[in-house]
Symmetry: D2
Subunit: 329 residues, 4 copies
Amino acid sequence: MNSFGRKFKISIFGESHGKSVGVTVDGCPPGIKLDEADFLGDLDRRRSGAKGTTPRLESDLPEIISGVFNGFSTGAPITVVFKNEDTRSKDYSKLVDHPRPGHADFTAFKKFNGFNDYRGGGHFSARLTLALVSAGVIAKKIIQPIDIHAKLKSVHGNTDIEQEIDDAIGKGESVGGIVECIATNLPIGLGEPFFDSVESVISHLVFAIPATKGIEFGSGFEAAQMYGSQHNDLIVDKSGKTKTNHAAGINGGITNGNELVFRIAVKPTSSISKAQGTFNMKTGKVENLMIGGRHDVCVALRVPVILEAITAIALADFFLISGMEKNQK
Amino acid sequence: MNSFGRKFKISIFGESHGKSVGVTVDGCPPGIKLDEADFLGDLDRRRSGAKGTTPRLESDLPEIISGVFNGFSTGAPITVVFKNEDTRSKDYSKLVDHPRPGHADFTAFKKFNGFNDYRGGGHFSARLTLALVSAGVIAKKIIQPIDIHAKLKSVHGNTDIEQEIDDAIGKGESVGGIVECIATNLPIGLGEPFFDSVESVISHLVFAIPATKGIEFGSGFEAAQMYGSQHNDLIVDKSGKTKTNHAAGINGGITNGNELVFRIAVKPTSSISKAQGTFNMKTGKVENLMIGGRHDVCVALRVPVILEAITAIALADFFLISGMEKNQK
Amino acid sequence: MNSFGRKFKISIFGESHGKSVGVTVDGCPPGIKLDEADFLGDLDRRRSGAKGTTPRLESDLPEIISGVFNGFSTGAPITVVFKNEDTRSKDYSKLVDHPRPGHADFTAFKKFNGFNDYRGGGHFSARLTLALVSAGVIAKKIIQPIDIHAKLKSVHGNTDIEQEIDDAIGKGESVGGIVECIATNLPIGLGEPFFDSVESVISHLVFAIPATKGIEFGSGFEAAQMYGSQHNDLIVDKSGKTKTNHAAGINGGITNGNELVFRIAVKPTSSISKAQGTFNMKTGKVENLMIGGRHDVCVALRVPVILEAITAIALADFFLISGMEKNQK
Amino acid sequence: MNSFGRKFKISIFGESHGKSVGVTVDGCPPGIKLDEADFLGDLDRRRSGAKGTTPRLESDLPEIISGVFNGFSTGAPITVVFKNEDTRSKDYSKLVDHPRPGHADFTAFKKFNGFNDYRGGGHFSARLTLALVSAGVIAKKIIQPIDIHAKLKSVHGNTDIEQEIDDAIGKGESVGGIVECIATNLPIGLGEPFFDSVESVISHLVFAIPATKGIEFGSGFEAAQMYGSQHNDLIVDKSGKTKTNHAAGINGGITNGNELVFRIAVKPTSSISKAQGTFNMKTGKVENLMIGGRHDVCVALRVPVILEAITAIALADFFLISGMEKNQK
């Protein structure tokens, strides 16, 4: 379904070239200061326009249509809507028979019996991440004093990110990257054993971000090459602080008060400027195709703010389930 | 919570040194042939005893106490219970003040205000994977003709796995590993965009397996180093078969009919035979401690069957949600 | 939470005097013919204006902002929004310290720490039933050929309904009523034993309709006065048709193919025109108060279409869970 | 599904003539004093044996197989199992072709394609209420100091209950009744507007009790005959105490601190001693049939403790969702 969360519950809706995209946040406690201006910072970080991102220009102005009264959350569901403005539907019309490689065109067509809105990816569009970022803005307010910071660590295997972007633009290519997210000031005790472990819930949300191919917590894939005596984090004081942090701040699915650290792998954008072979469903032949529309050279550039958002959403849900927001007052 | 699934819903319970562990599967369709013998094969693959696994010996005989009548599932909840027999609780009593490094002892104590059953990890024990494997046995029957095979690819960075196990035993160490899971014969259309993507649900369940540190689908972390033209999988026929499979058989969160492929990183077992520094919560000092009890040198040895189980559970849920079991008849 | 449903999932949002009210329907199958005109008939039945209903005049024009493309549902979430136009917030300002008897003013204030939007009942307003009716319009299309008809059976204990309305208006009073709902052409097998019985799910939704005080299925409260031999419905043919229908078409929580019949009790509107005692939270005294704003003399007049809607919503969820929509094609 | 609850989540399993029935309670806070003896009082109230109840004799001894350690809940799932002992399966064998009037035999057969365990009603048996009562015992401990008391108000329309039972036994009949439940010492603020109103959740659970035909809160069906000025409850002090309590302690779905009051209608037991017409699915003819097995003359006699249990379950879930258990300490 298009909703997530047990107590901080988000529901997203909308299409790339439909009237709007939006999100409903149900379960936000009353009394959180909130107005439309609060969203602008994170939305701006997400927006396209920088080198390497799509030239589609949207003002991305959020409209809060419910759940806020006199500048504070009321406890009722908060719905935030974004109107789509810069839609050029004609770009996509001929792609119906040519499912773009790497895109959801083929699976969406099959799953929804051909009724899916195929324009610009429709409901599968990365434009839906507007909804995630918006929910993240609200979540961040709830989980104070937790701080979350994500950043792009490398692109195409290179930490000189700008050079790789230029290179990819020159080649008509797209490139992937690695994004790391760190959360600090976490309380002990968020998360639950097994199915609602912190890692389970975060990874669940992470793979809702289009283009994600992998996630690792703390030592991650390197852990597979370590000895136990190297990997075990020694507790050094009664607060539970550890000397190393291979565990990423989580034991048995539950936060231990140390930093939460994880990294995700973002694949290169499926849409590329140069021609590529594409199967024609009507003729049954592979054709050389140029993909129209506008797209990112490196979608990973936009991912950090989205990653922060989903982390905040996951933590807000744990926070509210644990009743920790009561301790704040 | 200790349950998972929308239509094929599993609920697990039990502790390492309590009376039993078990699972309830709610939503299994009626008419699935099922008796206790069906569980033995996968339970045997999971059981300890091989070199590198814990010498704790349990017969692990499943008892079906509800939901099966005359050898077939009835449509009512199926509960499978395993009695704990070989429990030696005295091994653990002195660990209350010495939370073992890498274990959930500290977080469990904090989260549950000291009321957690700390014996052998209590509810956090890997013994609970008996419940996952059992649910997997039922799930595998539902999703036919899908085949799922997982195998251990490397241990401590080495594909000569036996050598690494010997080496670790000799050193009193534990080691991690990489496990790969492949599912074939998948229908097109399982999964949903965003929150219930196939990757989201599988990774959610994967991180319920103790010791998991990372997951990657298809090209995974390598995708971050690729160009779009390399990564995009070219469709080659009308069934949607692709030339490469970097997408791991999933586009937009939905299966495309190609193989589902993913790998997980398993950390070295936290319990090791040799002495290690351990914080004493009472004295506030680090002591050199030997961990008693019995444990695996390489828990990754036991993971393949568990990984198959959680994959089957995830797919069974998607299968039933999509009503695909109706097409089988 | 403000959402309901396992597979046909509705989420409602909005306030009486905020910007809008609306609903998101997630899980509607693709290919359902749908446009804004489809909503007008049921919305018109719900709308105020008739004698005995509030003079608040709203055009109640639905705007579909997602999930519909080329006149058909796409399989993505459908969001329908209604702008609030005729809001007169000043009517309500002085009621903050005078929680209206019978209303949620007091409980909302307490639950939401004073941050609730109190204007016109805010999120508790019967205006939210616009969202229910809209979801019902979509649900009715899914469950064809099931027919659902609800009607007002009595008002203030009298089947001459018009006379009672006139009488109540004359007295500055409000009156309650009994509404009956009947669904026909039901398949056998909707519903589940225990927690997801047909009665459980319908009654859950029924009590989401403001002013509902009771519900009874089939023989209902009269059953308590009957003998078993009178109450048992004799099956008369292989299709399961019964001679009587005290069971309301349900056995063990599951539809048996006969008519689904239930009745609900609707209390008199809490707002009345004549003065009534009202507690002043500041002074701690009871004052004689006239309630401003506009309100229904008999909210039961508007309930039939809402009752049909929630019945359709419940049945649509069962329909989709059972995969019965597949049998239609 | 066979589970219910958002934070205090119960999952029931078992069959009348299978190995056992049981319940898993997930979400019980740690530190609740609990052992098997705590269940005996309520189980005894539920047990058969009194005049008018089935002569089936079961010791009904609960076995806690997980979630309790050293006499306290641990925070992990609590599973309680009851072995079935006094099962006489031969009584039911010939009923396969003769679905008993008023029972779920026909619907269960159809829904589960003939794979249902038909012995003694199988999973539909009132024996499953053992699971509800057990979960209620745990719930009652969580919601202290709330008191819940249910009692049988009338049988067959008569408050002289014993006389009606004797009369029914003499006639080979069964009779229905009315049960009332009152909860006191409720905090203000449990419940949520619309779908998770207190009435919605309680009624959802109430209709999980076999034989329930109706429910009404406070003024209930009489409300339909009242004027608003009669029905509105006047607040008389700052705590929200009201002069009358037609609202049953609930406004807008949320508790207002006054007594929670509701009544349910219980139909006469479907099984009766005297012969009745029963359809033969094989011959297509109505036959005169005596129903073997053992059964209650008046199942309503056993309902009060079950009704208390489900009320406690509903309130415990609200309690934990609101984080109110934190205030207790």
